[in-house]
Amino acid sequence: MIMRSRFDEQLSLLNKKMIEMGAECENVINLSVNALLRGDAGQAKMVEAQGQTIDRLEREIESICLKLLLQQQPVAKDLRIISAALKMITDMERIGDQAEDIADIISHLDGRTGGESRDIPLMAHAAAKMVTDSIDAYVKHDVQLAKALYDYDDVIDNAFRRVKSALISMIAENTADGEYALELLMIAKYFERIGDHAVNIAEWVEFSVTGVHKGD
């Protein structure tokens, strides 16, 4: 019984750290979105510090998971939760990195915002919403919410396609904007990737609750 209670304690610590990391991810992506829409390089700087917090949390969670696996040798649902957590933190960490990359690009935009292309703000908000929803799904063990994200990913993918064609015509009209257009393309790509990572997290949430992974 003592072993089990210690195990539960460690599991709840893991859960707590996971939510914390999720919240940091949400925070970092919201910061980059705001910085992008306002063309605020100062806010973009703050993203970097947040990114370090995310990396630190990733290592912490990793060591908790490994400790749990080695010392407690969990089975069934507990094992699913821990292995899903190990997979999820990789995606979360990638989200943090990509938000950092976006912030990095913002400081090169010379005060121009992402609002010049209509679909970029849409992608930014959609990506932020997906991250929030995937973390929500994890917190509430909400499989329905997780599944809804699989379809929502299309919103971002479609917007990405529109952004691409809009940027092509932008370059065609005015070649001087070429660099800006390329930067926007990178940002759009990062948002698209963030959406994919959010879907990955949602898949692992479904796995940890039901034991069925969508990829199977």
């Binding site: 709840s12 939510i19 919240a23 949400e26 973390i135 917190v139």
Partner: protein, 545 residues
Amino acid sequence: MAVMAASLLITSGFLYEYYSKSQENQLKEELDFAAEMVEKEGVEFLESLNFSLCRFTLVSPDGSVLYDSMADLDEMDNHTDREEIAEALKTGRGSSKRYSATLTQRTVYEAVRLENGGVLRASVNQATVGTLILNLFPAITGIVLVSVALALFLSHKMSKSIVKPFNEIDLENPEKNETYDELAPMLEKISTQHRQISVQMLELKRRTDEFEKITGSMNEGLVLLDKNGNVLSMNTAAEKLFCVDDTIKGCSFLSVDRSVNVTRAVEKALQGKRSNLTETRNGREYRFIVSCNEYEGTTAGAVILCIDVTETAFAERNRREFTANVSHELKTPLQSIIGSAELLENGLVEPEDTNRFIGNIKNEAVRLVNMIEEIIRLSRLDEGSCPPAGRVNLYAVAADTVESLKVLAEKKRVRIFLDGERDCFITGVKSYLQEIIYNLCDNAIRYNKEGGEVKVALKKDKEKIVLSVSDTGIGIPAEHRNRIFERFYRVDKSHSRETGGTGLGLSIVKHAVAYHGGTLTLDSEENKGTVITVCFHNAPEIQKQ
């Protein structure tokens, strides 16, 4: 088992000892008797003995066997080397014990010297201890088995009968049991504790109910956390705020709300520091007060109080705007007065323009006075002081007002007319009603187009009297419609000088209508006109604000 075996060994050892001693004594007695008889009757006595427990051997002084009751004489050799016989020859009596080759038998010999120098020997065979035990073993085993079974059965039965009263004790009602007297004090104690516990439980339940009722009816969200940051309790308002239900109890607060600021505030509170932050949730603004809950000097948890400050924040913004507006509106005419006065003072004004400048100063001063008067009126309405109310004919009031505005209307080339029922009596304050109609008509004329018209209409039915003022003016753009009743609010700020007015008229209307318990509706279309409808109920309650 070991104890049983040991006791068996010891008992059989003692028994054997006693048994063999008594046998030896018997053997001695028998030998003495036989020796006496042999002395008297010779060897014939032995021969006549056809029944005896022991074996007799008569040995001559030289050691040859003269008689043996069991063995053949021819086979027997000289007996002088036998221990007991040698001893008897020497001392008159001898005895010895010998074990057979298999150790299963022991032979006890007793010998006595006769008067003729010969020796009479009696011997008897004894079983050894081992044989004894071996022989006894089946019987002992049987007895042990039977007794063990019997003991098991009996002890089971007995313990059952002893324990039965214990099992039958009804611990819910300890004092009602009839059981061992020895248990009575304990049962009494239990029953007292029972009563104490139920009283305490009742008290506890009453308190939690009380707490839940108080927190449940609170508009503010209240969350209690334990020292690990897990949710202990959450009132209804908080559950609504965070969109969770009461299954969240016992979970970490992170799964309720994971916003970084709140998380940090909770961490700080658990270290004993209080913090205060404003956050937006579900489109409303909340102030979170996170403080530490201390119990006997140690941190027992944290308390989060969430106050909806949307209205307060809005009112705060409005108040700030109002103050800015007031100072601006009051300053503008004064600046113009000062400007004109300075020009006059420095003699920079041509004599023929002097009158125009003085007229300017007068006009601005009048504007200022008007504005201040309106502010005073508004603040009276704000205070809710109630001037005498009476029966007022709204038609008569409207007729007077329309008449007094005719001059202004003609100046702007606007036609103004009154239409409707002639006896519209309501209970109200005449001066306020006058204000309402005057301000509405005044606006309708000011913001009209040249050649437009203003229609004041009065309609009456059983329940209410409806006053509507419609114009054919410039209308109000949709985005301003919600705000025109605010103080000093102007749709077009740059036009304020041209059209005159203070920006307080509609605000006064709003307050005066509310004072009479009426409702105010606005219907407007840009460039076509505006209709403002005031609806008074027939039995209006004068409301104090």
